[in-house]
């Protein structure tokens, strides 16, 4: 069991990285990777939201939406809308929590904190877990791996961008274009993990 969970976590974090090989959560990935500090904050916030959201949506899916649930009907077509509701509420909650206890992080994340609501990585994980994982612990391991992968890649990109600041970049590449080039190179580098022999 332990080994199996580790395999799930590593393959979700590195081999099929949520940003670099599945192209989810690009908005936050590009938007909040200016500084390593804010990137860390964003990464941890996303880990927190994904874990909470996955746990709650798993429960809702099992209790109400599956044919075996409360209503004895197949309501899985409601997954998307129900999950969006839950995620939006969680992000709201997180916003209040940060505003009260970690105002500096709240300010640093700015507009991107509410944007976690529309961070498709969160919904993507919730839906994948609901559809592919029947075991709660494995689902949570998958959520942890995916959100950890997001955190790793955004911090890596932020570190590279901090180094880029002092470099002489041609005018036409300044700003977002060079970041996209960096992200592309990172994605290519991450494909190296696909030959990783685990489990």
């Amino acid at each position: 069991m332990g080994v199996e969970l580790l395999v799930i976590i590593i393959s979700a974090a590195l081999i099929s990285n949520v940003v670099l090989s599945r192209f989810l959560g690009i908005c936050a990935f590009l938007g909040v990777s200016n500084k390593v500090d804010t990137a860390k904050g964003m990464g941890i916030a996303v880990i927190f939201v994904i874990l909470m959201a996955t746990a709650v949506t798993y429960a809702i899916n099992m209790a109400f939406l599956e044919p075996t649930g409360l209503f004895k009907r197949d309501l899985t077509y409601l997954q998307t809308i129900a999950f969006i509701l839950v995620i939006a509420a969680l992000v709201q909650f997180l916003e209040m929590f940060l505003k009260k206890y970690i105002p500096s992080l709240y300010k640093a994340l700015g507009i991107y904190l509410p944007l976690i609501t529309t961070n498709c990585a969160v919904l993507g994980v919730a839906l994948t877990v609901a559809q592919d994982y029947t075991d709660f612990v494995k689902g949570m391991a998958y959520a942890l791996g995916t959100s950890g992968g997001f955190c790793i890649s955004i911090i890596l990109l932020a570190s590279i961008r901090e180094k880029l600041e002092s470099n002489d970049i041609p005018d036409s590449f300044k700003g977002k274009p060079i970041v996209l080039v960096m992200a592309c190179l990172m994605a290519i580098a991450f494909t190296g993990f696909s030959n990783l022999n685990i489990g």
Partner: protein
């Protein structure tokens, strides 16, 4: 799809929404952050277009700074006096009589007046041109280059290039200093609104070199300094500089200036 599915879907979503609503409502009370009432009130007085003209990140940041006493009540250049009066009411202090300032380009080196060191046909950007030998094509090393970097910087449409020199429209200018920061030649400064007589030159050369550079350059002869009875104009490092607090705008220096560089 039978009717049970439809009903149960509606019921389910309604229950989820209600539970979430109650949860968020309760936690918004639990995690309430006390916001200084002053900040909210000041924020309501401000224009709210987040232009950044005050030097802060936006209207929220300025409201916070004013409430903390880190910024003046009349810091908002867009709102001007009416907004300053409202904010000073909130803060309980006198707004005081503040002189409205506007930006002014201290250069009259138009295409006719200024002589050129060479022809420049490169990118029309002052910052680039200023990095070239002789700081731009004009012979004067402290001249307005006239490529309009300040015009791009101005968010209020108060600047334009006339005859190779930037001009400020004092009616539109809100003294946000964006042009002053943008100008690589440092020829823009703030002057009191409505002032008639201002030194229209920034040249720091003396005598012949200054005379060669431009038809209306300050040559640091000191005539204005000798003429002024208020001691309001002084030659400082080869350039006539006016003290607007002492000057009464009599215009004597302007008449006596042999180079006609005081408007």
């Amino acid at each position: 799809m039978d009717s049970v599915v439809i009903v149960s879907s509606i019921v389910l979503l309604a229950i989820i929404a209600i539970v979430i609503g109650i949860f968020l409502g309760v936690s918004s009370e639990v995690f309430k952050v006390k916001v200084d009432e002053k900040i909210v009130k000041i924020r309501e007085c401000l224009p709210g277009n987040n232009c950044g003209g005050c030097g802060f990140a936006g209207c929220d940041a300025l409201a916070e700074a004013i409430a903390k006493g880190e910024a003046a009540v009349n810091q908002c250049p867009v709102g001007g006096a009416p907004v300053a009066a409202k904010i000073s009411e909130v803060m309980g202090v006198e707004a005081g009589d503040t002189v409205k300032m506007v930006a002014f380009v201290n250069c009259n080196g138009t295409c006719v007046n200024a002589n050129k060191a060479y022809e420049y046909n490169g990118v029309k950007d002052c910052r680039l041109a200023a990095s070239l030998p002789n700081a731009g094509e004009k012979l004067c090393r402290n001249a307005c280059l006239g490529y309009g970097t300040c015009v791009d910087a101005c968010k209020f449409g108060a600047m334009e290039i006339v005859d190779g020199v930037a001009k400020v429209d004092p009616e539109k200018c809100v003294a946000c200093k964006a042009c002053i920061k943008a100008c690589p030649m440092k020829v823009i400064s703030l002057v009191p609104y409505g002032k008639k007589h201002i030194v229209e030159c920034s040249n720091r050369d003396k005598g012949k070199p200054a005379m060669d550079a431009c038809k209306v350059s300050c040559i640091a002869c000191g005539m204005c300094e000798r003429t002024c009875t208020k001691g309001a104009i002084k030659v400082d490092r080869n350039l006539a500089v006016m003290d607007y607090n002492l000057c009464d705008d009599c215009g004597a220096c302007s008449e006596k200036c042999p180079r006609k560089c005081i408007s």
